[in-house]
């Protein structure tokens, strides 16, 4: 019972956060929203009984891609002066 309610809730949350990541004008907010999408997708994989996929999704989607996005954003800001 809890699993069904939680899956529907997390699905709606992921859709709202993804729409916000696409439509927002501020680029820092868009990157934070993309990281939040990945973290909640990790919880969704967890209640589908796949803990290894959840761990990988949290590590790559939220850790590595956020670091790379901010590194590139910093380089672009420095080149533009």
């Amino acid at each position: 019972m809890l699993n069904i309610i939680l899956a529907i809730f997390l699905g709606i949350l992921i859709i709202v956060l993804a729409i916000m990541a696409v439509l927002n004008k501020n680029i820092v907010v868009a990157i934070i929203a993309a990281g939040a999408v990945s973290l909640f997708a990790s919880v969704l994989y967890l209640i589908l009984a796949a803990p290894d996929v959840a761990m990988t999704e949290a590590a790559i989607g939220s850790g590595l891609s956020t670091i790379i996005f901010f590194y590139v954003l910093n380089k672009i800001n420095r080149q533009n002066g």
């Binding site: 019972m1 809890l2 699993n3 309610i5 939680l6 809730f9 949350l13 709202v16 956060l17 916000m20 501020n26 820092v28 907010v29 990157i31 934070i32 929203a33 990281g35 939040a36 973290l39 909640f40 990790s42 919880v43 967890l46 209640i47 009984a49 803990p51 959840a54 761990m55 949290a58 590590a59 939220s62 850790g63 956020t66 670091i67 901010f70 590194y71 954003l73 910093n74 800001n77 420095r78």
Partner: protein
């Protein structure tokens, strides 16, 4: 008895995540949204603990550990970018 109380606790946690989602959606500056992200991940961390109790598998607590570490890392990276660039 115990399962009913834990079910009500999980519902209250979901309501807390919805309230922080409202702040994340509406917050006026970027720092507001970063605070909302922090509170949201900590709330879902304790939700993972309840999921581990309901499905009786201890391996889920390892996932909770990795999840907390990576959400902390994300907050630190964005704050450092705000201060002086990565």
């Amino acid at each position: 008895m115990v399962n009913k109380i834990l079910f009500i606790a999980a519902l209250i946690m979901m309501l807390a995540i919805l309230l922080t989602l409202y702040r994340f959606f509406k917050g006026t500056t970027a720092a507001d949204r970063l605070v909302a992200f922090d509170v949201m991940t900590v709330s879902s961390l304790s939700l993972i603990g309840l999921i581990a109790k309901f499905s009786d598998r201890i391996i889920y607590l390892d996932v909770a550990m990795v999840y907390g570490l990576l959400s902390f890392l994300g907050v630190i990276i964005v704050a450092r970018y705000f201060e002086k660039g990565l």
